[in-house]
C-alpha cells in the first residue's frame, strides 16, 4: 500500500516538475509548481512529518506561490520568446545536468545499502517534540530568522515602492 502511494506521488511530483520545464507561459509553470509542492506534502505525511507537511501546504503552496502568481499577473508577463541565447548553455547544459543526476544517484547507491528501508508508522517525533526542540536547542536561530524575515519584508516594500 505504502509502495503504491509512494510511486503515485513520486510520479506526480516528477511529472509536474517536467511540466514546469515544458510550459512556456509562467502562469502554467506556477500552477505545476503548486502540484509539485502538494505531492511533496503527501510524501512528508507518509514519512511521519505532519508538521512539515502542514507548513509546506500553508507557507509554500499557500503564501509563496500566491506571491508568485500575484507578481506574474501584476506584470502581465507573456509567453517567453525564443532568443539567440548563449550557445554554451544550450550545448553544455543538457550533458552537465545528466552528469549531475548520475553523480547524485551513484552517490546515494554507494552510501546507502538497499536494505536501508523506511518503515512507516513508528516515528517517535510529534509536533510537540519539534516545538520543544525548536524553542530549547534552536532558540537563537529561530530569533535570527525572525529578524531576517522582518528585514526582508521591509526591503521588499522599499524595493517595490513607486519612486515619486
Amino acid at each position: 500500500m505504502y509502495e503504491i502511494l509512494f510511486f503515485v506521488f513520486a510520479a506526480a511530483a516528477v511529472g509536474f516538475a517536467i511540466n514546469l520545464l515544458v510550459q512556456r507561459h509562467p502562469i502554467y509553470g506556477a500552477i505545476s509548481l503548486i502540484g509539485v509542492m502538494a505531492s511533496l506534502a503527501s510524501l512528508y505525511l507518509m514519512l511521519g512529518a505532519e508538521f512539515i507537511a502542514a507548513v509546506q501546504v500553508i507557507v509554500y503552496a499557500g503564501a509563496i506561490m500566491v506571491l508568485f502568481v500575484f507578481v506574474i499577473m501584476l506584470l502581465n508577463a507573456g509567453v517567453e520568446e525564443r532568443t539567440n541565447r548563449s550557445r554554451m548553455a544550450k550545448q553544455l547544459g543538457a550533458p552537465l545536468v545528466v552528469l549531475l543526476l548520475g553523480l547524485l544517484t551513484s552517490l546515494v547507491y554507494r552510501n546507502f545499502p538497499p536494505d536501508a528501508a523506511v518503515r512507516f508508522g513508528d516515528f517517535p517525533g510529534q509536533t510537540a517534540d519539534i516545538g520543544r526542540r525548536l524553542y530549547i536547542y534552536y532558540m537563537l536561530p529561530f530569533e535570527v530568522v525572525s529578524i531576517l524575515i522582518l528585514v526582508a519584508i521591509v526591503g521588499a516594500v522599499v524595493l517595490a515602492k513607486k519612486e515619486t
Binding site: 505504502y2 509502495e3 509512494f6 511530483a13 516528477v14 516538475a17 514546469l20 520545464l21 509562467p26 509553470g29 506556477a30 509548481l33 509539485v36 511533496l40 510524501l43 512528508y44 514519512l47 512529518a49 508538521f51 512539515i52 507548513v55 509546506q56 507557507v59 509554500y60 503564501a63 509563496i64 506571491l67 508568485f68 507578481v71 506574474i72 506584470l75 517567453e80 520568446e81 532568443t83 541565447r85 548553455a89 543538457a94 545536468v97 549531475l100 543526476l101 547524485l104 544517484t105 546515494v108 538497499p114 536501508a116 528501508a117 518503515r119 517517535p124 517525533g125 519539534i130 526542540r133 534552536y138 536561530p141 526582508a152 519584508i153 526591503g155 521588499a156 516594500v157 524595493l159 517595490a160
Partner: protein
C-alpha cells in the same frame, strides 16, 4: 516499506530538473520558480534522512529553509517588479547590464 534510496533518488531527480530549468528557461520568474524547486528537492532529502536516523533536527532545518525561502521570494519578486518597471521585459538575455 520503501527503501530510503528511492526517496533520495527522487530528491536528486527533482534537483536536476530544477538545475535544468535554471539553465534552459529565459523568463526571470521561471528562473525563480526553478530555485524554489531545488529547495523543495533538498527539503525532501532532509525529511527522509530525518526519518531514517530518527532525529528531529532534519525537520527543524526544513522549517528554517522554508522561512529563508519565503524571505528570498519576497525580496526577489520585489527586485523583479523593479527590474520590469525599468526595462519593460523579463527576458534574462536582455537584462545583462546593471546600469540603465
Amino acid at each position: 516499506m520503501v527503501p530510503l534510496s528511492y526517496y533520495l533518488v527522487l530528491s536528486a531527480i527533482l534537483f536536476s530538473l530544477g538545475v535544468a530549468g535554471f539553465i534552459f528557461k529565459r523568463n526571470l520568474v521561471t528562473l525563480f520558480m526553478s530555485v524554489e524547486l531545488m529547495l523543495n528537492a533538498v527539503n525532501l532529502s532532509f525529511v527522509a534522512l530525518s526519518y531514517y536516523f530518527r532525529q528531529l533536527d532534519g525537520q527543524i532545518f526544513v522549517f528554517f529553509v522554508m522561512v529563508v525561502a519565503a524571505a528570498e521570494a519576497a525580496v526577489g519578486l520585489a527586485i523583479i517588479i523593479s527590474v520590469f518597471r525599468n526595462r519593460q521585459t523579463l527576458n534574462v538575455d536582455e537584462i545583462s547590464l546593471l546600469k540603465l
